[in-house]
């Protein structure tokens, strides 16, 4: 688990946007990704084909293996690749095992039926995979919307009732204050009222934040940088305050406010742990926006956590259960690597389709769409 500090360019903790270093190479080319996966699928087919004879595999078993490859490709890179691979599979099948055109003009009807069955099975499975995935994403998106609506409702309710009532109560207290003769009691009440004023202002701001999402900027990197500064400043003066760096790979994308909030909160918990418990000298946050996924890594070189403790996720300890729950709720994967004395790395991965909402999984379609709109 020695996966530490291998990230590229880093930035200092200035909140200035221009200081956040961007690494263009992470803008992985969708086309090459699709081609690579396609090639992988073809290679898979070839391996099965050439292994079939020495292993004495029956055509039925071979078709099943082909089918697995096709489904794997459709899971990884979408419909078009899966169609291409399944056609290639049919070609292999026919060429090696069920000669379609042993004599031109006279086709083996059994082979045609077998081919058709194979293709239909492959494409139905692919379509089903795509459909289930779309439904899950739609469900997640709906849940984000519901949560946003609920949050808005709570904010409005708090504003219209609690806040207004407090402001009104302050007038009553002031009336009492006006009735008091000058003296200790009046001074004390005046002080208390000033504090209450302050509390009301804070409450109002909290409600406004609830409404407009907690991270004030869409840039996760900037939010993380500000967080690091805040936590770093809070611990300044104490010995061993860690250096904090944020790096961004790829072009930052717009995220749904609810999703962004949750990502921010998970990351915040991780960064806070690093600052407060790890006794680290370096804390790094790496944010990667690629087509396929949005990834956050939070690394420190501190004292680490016992892996047993990580697995057990002791209740309330380091907020780990909370992080896991939140990650699950937004359809993200959270992984934590740590060993005593070797630091800690937290990785959060959100599939691109969920993270960026509108954009689909990388597929050749997506590539054409991009080219067509000139983006």
């Amino acid at each position: 688990m020695g996966r530490y500090f291998r990230c590229g360019a880093l930035m200092s903790t200035a909140p200035d946007k221009s200081m956040i270093k961007r690494l263009p190479e992470a803008e992985r080319n969708v086309f090459w990704l699709a081609v690579a996966q396609l090639l992988l699928g073809i290679i898979g087919l070839a391996v099965i084909t050439f292994a079939a004879v020495p292993l004495y595999l029956q055509p039925g078993a071979i078709s099943l293996l082909y089918l697995i490859v096709v489904v794997f490709v459709s899971l990884r890179s979408g419909f078009v690749s899966s169609v291409v691979v399944s056609l290639a599979a049919v070609f292999c099948l026919n060429y090696y095992f069920l000669p379609l055109s042993s004599s031109p003009g006279r086709k083996n009807p059994l082979a045609i039926v077998a081919t058709g069955t194979f293709l239909i099975t492959a494409w139905v499975i692919t379509a089903m995979v795509a459909r289930v995935r779309k439904l899950t994403e739609a469900q997640l998106a709906l849940r984000f919307e519901e949560r946003l609506a609920e949050r808005t409702r709570i904010a409005r309710e708090l504003h219209d009732t609690l806040l207004q009532s407090f402001q009104a109560l302050m007038l009553h207290f002031q009336t009492v204050n006006n009735l008091l003769p000058p003296g200790k009691a009046k001074d004390a009440l005046e002080q208390a009222l000033d504090r209450a004023d302050q509390a009301i202002v804070e409450g109002r701001e909290a409600i406004q934040n609830l409404r407009s999402s907690t991270t004030l900027t869409n840039e996760l990197a900037q939010a993380m940088t500000e967080l690091g500064q805040e936590l770093g400043a809070a611990r300044d003066g104490e010995r061993g305050s860690a250096t904090f760096r944020v790096s961004v790979e790829g072009r930052p994308r717009e995220l749904h406010p609810i999703l962004r909030d949750d990502i921010y909160r998970i990351a915040r918990e991780a960064v806070r742990n690093a600052f407060q418990h790890a006794r680290a000298s370096k804390i790094e946050v790496e944010i990667t926006y690629s087509e396929r996924l949005l990834r956050l890594r939070i690394r420190d070189d501190g004292k680490g956590v016992d892996p047993k403790l990580l697995d057990a996720g002791r209740d309330g300890h380091w907020g780990l259960p909370g992080m896991r729950e939140r990650a699950e709720e937004i359809g993200a994967q959270l992984e934590i690597w740590s060993e005593v004395g070797a630091g800690t790395e937290v990785e959060l991965r959100i599939p691109g389709s969920i993270a960026y909402g509108t954009s689909p999984r990388p597929s050749v379609f997506a590539l054409f769409r991009k080219k067509a709109t000139g983006l």
């Binding site: 808005t152 504003h159 207004q164 009104a168 009553h172 406004q208 409404r211 407009s212």
Partner: protein, 210 residues
């Protein structure tokens, strides 16, 4: 405060009963003021104003049925000498500007009521205007900004309701491209980084309400 001068007659308009009670309690202790009537929305405010002709009116902005701005426009139209003080929770410059245009003489934040309400009533009664320094600063800051068009405000309100572009387009019966154009303008005019930032700014500046 000479006792022979008639007290300042005040009308209090707010949909929140507790706040009206608070204002009433505060005014009760003042020999130079008297609360002549209360109203809980804009329509009632106009009626009460006609009946009582108060010297000073305290006006909330967010109210059911008829809001404070519409009530002020009606009252100022009918009684050009009306002295109205706006009481609100919001600091946004756009909101303030709207209230001033509707005839407000002073603007008071509800958070500052207990300290400044009485003085402000006396000042406005004496014919002066009053603006808290933080609001004046904010007004000055955005004095030269391009204002959002009413369509853009509508789009911003829908964004704040969590609507996606497609839904906004459907609700306003325009194309998604037009929505995108509006959003682009909104971001530019508000100097916002993104939609959420625009909503935050919109709330702060009183372009949209919570």
């Amino acid at each position: 405060m000479s006792a022979d001068r008639p007290p300042i007659r005040v009308l209090s308009v707010d949909d929140h009963p507790l706040l009206r009670e608070g204002v009433a309690a505060l005014l009760e202790g003042q020999p130079d003021m008297t609360l002549v009537a209360q109203a809980s929305n804009g329509r009632e405010a106009i009626e009460q104003f006609r009946i009582h002709r108060p010297d000073v009116t305290l006006m909330d902005l967010q109210m059911p049925e008829m809001n404070g701005v519409d009530a002020m426009i009606a009252i100022s139209g009918e009684f050009p000498g009306a002295r109205i003080i706006v009481l609100t929770t919001y600091t946004g410059d756009v909101q303030v500007l709207r209230a001033l245009k509707a005839g407000a003489r002073a603007y008071l934040l509800k958070g500052l009521l207990r300290k400044e309400l009485l003085d402000t009533i006396r000042l406005v009664h004496a014919g002066q205007k009053r603006m808290p320094p933080e609001i004046a600063t904010e007004l000055a800051e955005h004095a030269t900004d391009d204002a959002l068009s009413s369509r853009e405000v509508e789009v911003l309100r829908l964004i704040s309701g969590g609507n996606a572009n497609k839904e906004i387009a459907a609700r306003l019966s325009i194309t998604e491209e037009t929505v995108k154009g509006h959003i682009k303008n909104i971001l530019a005019k508000l100097d916002a980084n993104d939609r959420t930032h625009a909503v935050t700014i919109g709330l702060k500046r009183g372009i949209i309400d919570l």
